[in-house]
Subunit: 288 residues, 2 copies
Amino acid sequence: MKVLREIDQVNTLVSEWTKNGESIGFVPTMGYLHEGHIRLIKEAKKENDKVILSIFVNPLQFGKGEDLDTYPRDEDHDRHVAKENGVDLVFLPTNETMYPQPLSVNMTVTNRTNVLCGKSRPGHFDGVVTVLTKLFNITRPDNVYFGMKDAQQVAVVDALIKDYNMPVNLIAVPTVREEDGLAKSSRNVRLSDEERKEAPSIQEALQYGRKLVMEGQNSKEMIIEATVKFLEQKTHGKIDYIELLSYPELEFIEKIDRPVILAAAVFYDNVRLIDNVVFDHEGLVIYG
Amino acid sequence: MKVLREIDQVNTLVSEWTKNGESIGFVPTMGYLHEGHIRLIKEAKKENDKVILSIFVNPLQFGKGEDLDTYPRDEDHDRHVAKENGVDLVFLPTNETMYPQPLSVNMTVTNRTNVLCGKSRPGHFDGVVTVLTKLFNITRPDNVYFGMKDAQQVAVVDALIKDYNMPVNLIAVPTVREEDGLAKSSRNVRLSDEERKEAPSIQEALQYGRKLVMEGQNSKEMIIEATVKFLEQKTHGKIDYIELLSYPELEFIEKIDRPVILAAAVFYDNVRLIDNVVFDHEGLVIYG
């Protein structure tokens, strides 16, 4: 496994692979790899000749007061995980490598962002599309892998790729879950024992809402109301939002007549958890 | 020569070429091809296995009140010129092909634009970088060719490519001139006979300014003053601007201690002409 820190080095290696007709799968991360990332790497391994993993805590996607400085880092662990899982190249750039001068051309996301988590993170997705555009150009992948845990990120990247005709396939990988259904997250360790027992109810509530659609309910308002009620009975966590939007456009709808996302964010004492389910107009799971 | 209108068709052909290890030169244009464009095509032919020419009058780079609707078009002529000069693929998309939905991600240029012609064309370069990012992704060229007549455009594209690590070389091609030095332009036909006789003085004045630097003058103010004075004596045209800036950063400087552009725009009765010369701190021509 190669570990490279300079863009030119990556260019050289990628050009070699491309010349040899080898396909490239790319998994962009901010490091501190967990099972969600490993699932992405495994998918990339299955479908490509070479797999590139990038580890870069992108300052541009952190707002003021967000945890850029305390964002967890463990390069040794990450390199070990990457190697174990057959990654061919780890790209580990510095801030200076990625942003050697102030940008003259800025990218801003004007759609799919003022809903869900985007509401409370102004500028976050601007930073995401900026760094991804750079990373796509540096690694020139055939396929790029994102987890559906961050469904809004997937939707924004989908828009980015379509808007700019980027020559890359977006592969959305289903959320990895604990046996009881809780979405895996490095943040789950911050749950108290009692909270940990209740937290799977987030996914249960979303599935409950989805089943109402299977049974013929198609009013957004009724589904959200029922989902909120279900969740409030199952957990002491404070609901930040439960939203139901078209997917991947993330537009407000009243009737479930196309693919949708039902998504939740819940505050516990020391952590805010998110989860979602994406399903069609008949309630059939697309991503769960 | 292939003529394609759909992005998928271009993707397929470009993938074939790339697999065969063939290099690609790209000449983006708005059509109505003249000798300046032909020069770009010829350069691209010399340095690449395949040459792609795009013809697309990009609505995004026209401001309100600008001449989008009356912009000259002549597809038959352009196809003929392209074929004569050995172009391998002409990409001729429609507006609907290039912009099938409103953009969710916008690109804006915040540097190198509020000088020279950019001052009077707000949003123009935003449209330029947007369409070029799309076209680069569609045609995936090794080299892309622009004329130095639009030096500011070259400077902005240089920033775009650097900021986003785009895997393409920018080749700036010197301005094509009439025998008397007037920069070629389809707009020159709008000059009266007398104006046509005077118009070469624009380039003469810029060269006069450059020669002052060769003789040791290094004050921006003195050079601009002398250039304006020279030009005013030689033509009845009304000077829109004569500017001297660092190149390609297009930053204000007082002393000529690095590569610079000396650029002019002059109003005649029915046309506004632009021209420039780029030279180093000793006055040696870089692009003339």
